[in-house]
Subunit: 276 residues, 2 copies
């Protein structure tokens, strides 16, 4: 296949490197700035530094940019995308963008399949990309009504580049789950490190601090976009968390050790039942 | 030295193993139940399964039990502890127990030095102990007015068994910092996993979920005790966290992406300034 990747950040760059490492597809990179393209060419992550014109012969387009930018790119270049081409995003939210991309696909005759690779780091840019970023990770596929054979091509490719699990879901369920598994941990990390104790934590901290604070090293533009584009589900999860925190606070305020034990035991049981 | 360790759980057990691995001291284990003593003898983590009578010839007593149990053990056996013996706790809270242990030490002529090894796991018991649990970790020492030469013996021993950093502080500052670095992450983890999304997270999660939820696999008896014994500092940190969460929630509720970016950027700067 001719695969065009638009946006060579950590995700697009890792797709390029993984596709070159694990498949024989021809990879064309498109990026707003020149430098990542040159780096990708030099290290062999792409075969060609391309332009939207290359979409004319593309079998697949992978959108490695932020959600809004991904939709804009497809809007602007939809007339160049051949029918038969599979367009995949890689965004962390789905309800806001999938309907727009599906509509563009229907109008112009190509196929859209939503994809969310559950992999990343607290670093960004092509320099943070890795051929094995997806190894062992889960790939969420949001078919959005695309033909089964096209969805299967996307799934097979995901398995080839290292994903160990494929999960199929709807945009709505994706966003609800991601609010919990990914967005709330970022909200927590950012709130947590703003304690006056944080700047003087060294010597007093171990694994717990490190793990909870890790993703506070955040890309604020990306995450502010992801948060606002998933506002309803995220507000709901913040409220659930606040309610659970308040229950612990009340037990502590009342010096009620029995109640605290009960709450903590419930959390332990949840982890144990998950085999974690 | 003759070193008595009372309580062979993960911490006391790791002290025993580390002392046997890195020093030539003679190690005597005391434990309420028999099984850990037999395991410790069999694997060479202790030289002798002892009893409180062994305190009579002890140069050092390490308290590996929960805070209240540690105080009770010293109260009951203070008459057996020779003057010159150094008694160290290993507890995660200090303000509530250090004054009691210092008073017992003054009354009976031995020395008390507060110690908090900043190491642990989400597992418990002797079977989870490791000779290298403390390697690279920080050891917090709370001298509580003990003679400098005794404090130095404790610090040198900590370095010998692998700690990479020794931090000296007061009980009050210890508890304030620990509320932030260790207790709040445990509160967060336990609140987090109680979301209705948690039992169905598989396939939708990656590192963020794993890191934040890790310590929800909690020992509820130990942590309910640690939380209530550090009630004031922990309540304060819960309130700081709730306030920061509320600020993010308000920006999101208002769909104010600029404000969200500002809050997240502040968190990123805090991490960057810490070099994390």
């Amino acid at each position: 296949m001719n695969i065009v990747i638009s946006g060579l950040g950590i995700i697009g760059g890792s797709y390029a490197k993984a596709l070159k490492k694990y498949t024989d597809h021809y990879i064309i990179g498109i990026n707003r700035s020149e430098q990542p393209l040159q780096q990708a060419l030099e290290c062999g992550a792409i075969d060609k530094a391309g332009s939207p014109e290359d979409l004319k012969t593309a079998d697949m387009l992978i959108l490695g940019t932020f959600p809004e930018a991904a939709v804009h790119f497809v809007e602007e270049n939809a007339h160049l995308i051949p029918s038969g081409c599979i367009v995949c995003d890689t965004c962390g939210i789905k309800s806001r963008i999938c309907p727009q991309l599906s509509e563009l696909a229907a109008k112009h005759g190509f196929t859209f399949v939503g994809v969310h690779p559950m992999a990343g780091k607290e670093k960004n840019g092509f320099s943070a990309s890795e051929a094995d970023l997806f190894v062992g990770a889960s790939c969420i596929i949001v078919p959005c009504g695309a033909d089964e054979d096209k969805v299967e091509i996307v799934a097979k490719l995901a398995e080839k580049i290292g994903f160990s699990q494929i999960v199929y879901t709807t945009p709505e369920n994706h966003d609800r789950m991601i609010a919990f598994t990914s967005q709330i941990p970022h909200v927590i990390a950012c709130a947590y490190v703003q304690s006056p104790c944080c700047p003087v934590h060294k010597g007093f901290s171990a694994g717990s601090y490190r793990d909870v604070s890790r993703v506070a090293h955040i890309n604020e533009k990306l995450w502010a976009e992801l948060f606002t584009e998933n506002r309803t589900a995220l507000l709901q999860e913040i409220d659930v968390l606040s309610e659970k925190l308040a229950a612990i606070r009340t037990a502590l305020e009342n010096d009620d050790r029995g109640k605290l034990e009960e709450i903590l035991a419930e959390s332990r049981r949840i982890k144990e039942e998950l085999g974690e």
